[in-house]
């Protein structure tokens, strides 16, 4: 593909009139040129999407009490402030632990169920499989508030009649698993379609039982997608607000719930410090998953793609 010759091609004959518009349109349309306007637009977008968060992180390190102007670096709101820092404010510390606990448990429950569901739905062709496929897609598109309200009401009005229900970690995990199973299915199923049935059938022709073929052929091939699924579930669960909030009554505030309830009330930068710590936790989890993936899975099994590209492609 000749990159530079294509740039020169559009409209050499066209007169001056509206040349800016013409150039803009050629930037937009030329599939091989270097569209500088689009590049500028994209980088401006990236700056707009990232910089506010960086500013918020910096305010967490503020030496003063202001949440809007920066007055010098310090760890006051993390460690030193005797009452309001994350270290000393019981409710902030508890929110961080609650977030990690709920999202960790959700990840451990949702991923295996989702992987099994993906395998079942991809291979099962009989009666009922169509309906099951459609059912699986609905949690992806249901507005979260509808899921939050309905889960709250079912625990409160129906399940509470049969088993004692306390709104807290258990209900939050049950709700978030319901919300995240479908993401696991989408991620794993995409990979299953790419693999096809050939390897499994070859293994079975060579005498492997279906269980052996699954364990020794299919699961290793699926490993990158399963890692990706763990990452995605953890990220969704730790960032979730609506479902966690509807399924919490008292003493189970996660970090997003804490942000929601105090952002407009208590003006102290320790909230920014708390949010930063949670961001670090989720970045650490991702880094861990990527390292694990690099270490245990040969790159060629991922079709030469990086984990990031794999993720971008998997998100529907």
């Amino acid at each position: 593909m000749s990159v530079d010759t294509a740039v020169a091609r559009p409209s050499p004959a066209r007169p001056e009139a509206g040349s800016r518009v013409a150039r803009f349109r050629s930037w937009l349309g030329n599939p091989w040129g270097r569209p500088r306007f689009l590049a500028l637009w994209t980088w401006l977008y990236m700056a707009w999407s990232i910089v506010p968060v960086l500013v918020a992180i910096r305010i967490g390190f503020n030496a003063g009490r202001s949440r809007s102007t920066f007055q010098g670096w310090s760890l006051r709101w993390y460690l030193h402030d005797p009452e309001l820092s994350v270290l000393h404010d019981e409710s902030l510390r508890h929110a961080l632990i609650q977030s990690l606990e709920v999202s960790g448990l959700t990840m451990l429950v949702a991923t295996p169920i989702g992987v099994a569901l993906a395998l079942g739905l991809a291979r099962w062709r009989g009666r009922g499989s169509g309906a099951a496929n459609v059912l699986m897609l609905f949690p992806l598109v249901t507005p979260e508030i509808v899921m939050g309200v309905s889960l709250f009401l079912v625990f409160d009005q129906l399940f509470a009649r049969f088993v004692p229900i306390t709104f807290g970690t258990q209900t939050q995990v049950l709700g978030l698993v319901t919300f995240t199973i479908s993401y696991v299915v989408i991620v794993v199923r995409g990979r299953l379609f790419a693999i096809g049935r050939d390897y499994e059938e070859a293994a079975m022709d060579l005498g492997a039982s279906p269980a052996e073929a699954l364990r020794r052929v299919l699961l290793p091939l699926l490993a990158p997608a399963i890692f990706a699924a763990f990452m995605i579930v953890f990220a969704i669960a730790i960032d979730d607000f609506v479902i966690s909030a509807f399924l919490c009554v008292q003493g189970c505030e996660t970090v997003p719930i804490k942000i929601y309830s105090t952002a407009r009330l208590a003006p102290s930068p320790s909230l920014n410090a708390l949010a930063t710590l949670m961001l670090v936790a989720s970045l650490a989890a991702i880094a861990l998953a990527v390292v694990a993936q690099r270490r245990f899975i040969a790159r060629r099994e991922m079709g030469g793609r990086s984990a990031v590209e794999e993720f971008a492609r998997l998100e529907i």
Binding site: L28, T42, I113, G120, S129, L137, S150, A263, E315
Partner: protein
């Protein structure tokens, strides 16, 4: 194929359904049953003494009174002792459509650039594009609560540039702040699926159009845009759905009754026992209202899956 695939020797008929069973059971118990509970509470009544909701579990005992009152209120003639929800409903629709339109204007060029032109920078751009997915939505809103304070950076910059004569109070019922908050919150979820769709377009189609003499703009309008239509619609639907149920963005960025959305009322109703039938009715009506969008998305994904499986 009604008969299905013959399967491989050694696999029994129940083999793969057994894998799917736990997940399906989970979704039936914790997705379908809860939704039925919403209907039952909406169609039920209130206990006259304790003010507790009494769900109508059997369709034979459904009483659509609350639902009817809610519909009347949404259409602008509320019964006695009922808030008038018509302005809220109109406001929600306007906010969602304006925010979605801005998302498309901002997001399409970005997705297009990354899919077509990013070259060696692609991985970096994708990392930046995905970064907001690892941050809590609430943290990203908190960032704007900081920036939009009266003495915050936004006001400092705007007054320095003489765009505003004096600092503006953004965080007390300003619709601009709420709509921009929605855009900021949801635009990454728009760009990523659209990027995937644009990335899937076969470059040879574009080369063919150019070789046959189409101008770049024409190539874009006649080839790229139609080929990305499905992805564009899917990305639009995927951000509109949660926006319709949003209540935390207006709460954080405004908190004023002048910017409340439907979601705020659902949230308020649900917080009192006697409000629960109303909250359930409003939730049910919201689901009906967005059902077209949901069905469109589910059916198009289901069709794509069927094709992928062949």
């Amino acid at each position: 194929m009604p008969g299905g695939d013959p399967g491989v020797v050694g696999e029994r008929r129940w083999y793969w359904p057994a894998f799917a069973a736990p997940g399906i059971l989970w979704l039936v118990l914790l997705f379908l049953t809860p939704f039925y509970t919403v209907v039952a509470v909406a169609m039920g009544g209130l206990d006259p003494i304790f003010g507790q909701p009494v769900p109508a579990w059997s369709p034979t005992s459904w009483d659509p009174a609350t639902l009817r009152q809610m519909v009347a209120s949404l259409l602008g003639n509320p019964p006695a002792l009922f808030p008038n929800l018509q302005p809220v409903f109109v406001r929600t629709v306007v906010y969602v459509f304006v925010a979605t339109a801005i998302c498309i204007l901002i997001g399409y060029p970005v997705a297009y650039y990354i899919a077509r032109h990013s070259g060696r920078r692609r991985v970096l751009l994708l990392v930046l594009l995905i970064a907001p997915f690892w941050m809590s939505y609430l943290m990203r809103m908190l960032a704007w609560v900081n920036l939009l304070q009266t003495d915050g950076y936004v006001n400092q910059v705007l007054t320095f540039l003489r765009i505003l004569p004096e600092p503006r109070n953004w965080l007390a019922g300003d619709p601009i702040a709420v709509v921009l908050g929605l855009v900021y919150g949801y635009v990454p979820y728009f760009i990523l699926p659209l990027y995937a769709a644009l990335d899937r377009i076969d470059r040879s189609h574009l080369e063919a159009a150019r070789d046959l003499g189409a101008s770049p703009a024409r190539t874009f309008l006649r080839v790229t845009l139609p080929l990305s239509r499905q992805g564009l619609l899917a990305a639009t639907v995927i951000i509109m759905l949660p926006m319709f149920g949003d209540y935390y963005t207006p709460d954080l960025l405004s908190g004023s009754p002048h910017t409340t959305m439907i979601g705020n009322f659902i949230n308020q109703f649900l917080h009192t026992r006697f409000g629960q039938p109303r909250g359930a009715s409003l939730t049910f009506l919201l689901s009906l209202f967005v059902a077209v969008l949901m069905l469109y998305y589910v059916l198009s994904v289901a069709r794509a899956t069927r094709e992928a499986r062949r």
